[in-house]
Subunit: 96 residues, 2 copies
């Protein structure tokens, strides 16, 4: 009846204070999952970097940045047009 | 008397409009250099991602993101204390 360990979790970073996302990342790692992906778009990208750095430096020194990717997403706006927005994914994982 | 091709150039991303940095990256690649490193701190990080994405998607499709690293820098503030600020480096290179 043992539950399989979930492989990874996603934390979407938005406009809330950075510590909300740090806490979300730590909660996921304590479930436990083996990796947590921070996803952010536009101006929230800097906050995602802050969340990753604060998690590693202050709370979970055994976490490493495994991969970072950037891309462009076409988001529909209120007028029905699409605007291009930069997005980023930071993959955090427990050190082996 | 031939000049050696410089290996890489650094573009520091700050508060100016993003197209300034796109132009700076393109100017460096046309010198030519083999890679350009975009460096940014704090809230300028999202702008660095924008600059990388716009350069690749709109102007130089042969440029690839070779590496992205994030770190924390201790910056002295006006009161003589140091504050921790996230920083990012995006290494852009011409596709082989």
């Amino acid at each position: 009846m043992g539950e399989a360990m979930e492989d990874n979790a996603v934390v979407y970073v938005g406009d809330k204070p950075v510590m909300n996302y740090v806490l979300a990342v730590m909660t996921q790692f304590n479930k436990p999952v083996s990796s947590v992906i921070l996803k952010a778009r536009g101006r929230a990208i800097s906050r995602a970097v802050d969340a990753a750095e604060i998690t590693r430096n202050r709370f979970m020194p055994n976490i490493v940045v495994k991969d970072i990717t950037i891309s462009t997403e076409a988001i529909p706006n209120e007028e029905g047009k699409t605007v291009n927005v930069s997005s980023m994914e930071i993959v955090l994982a427990k050190q082996e």
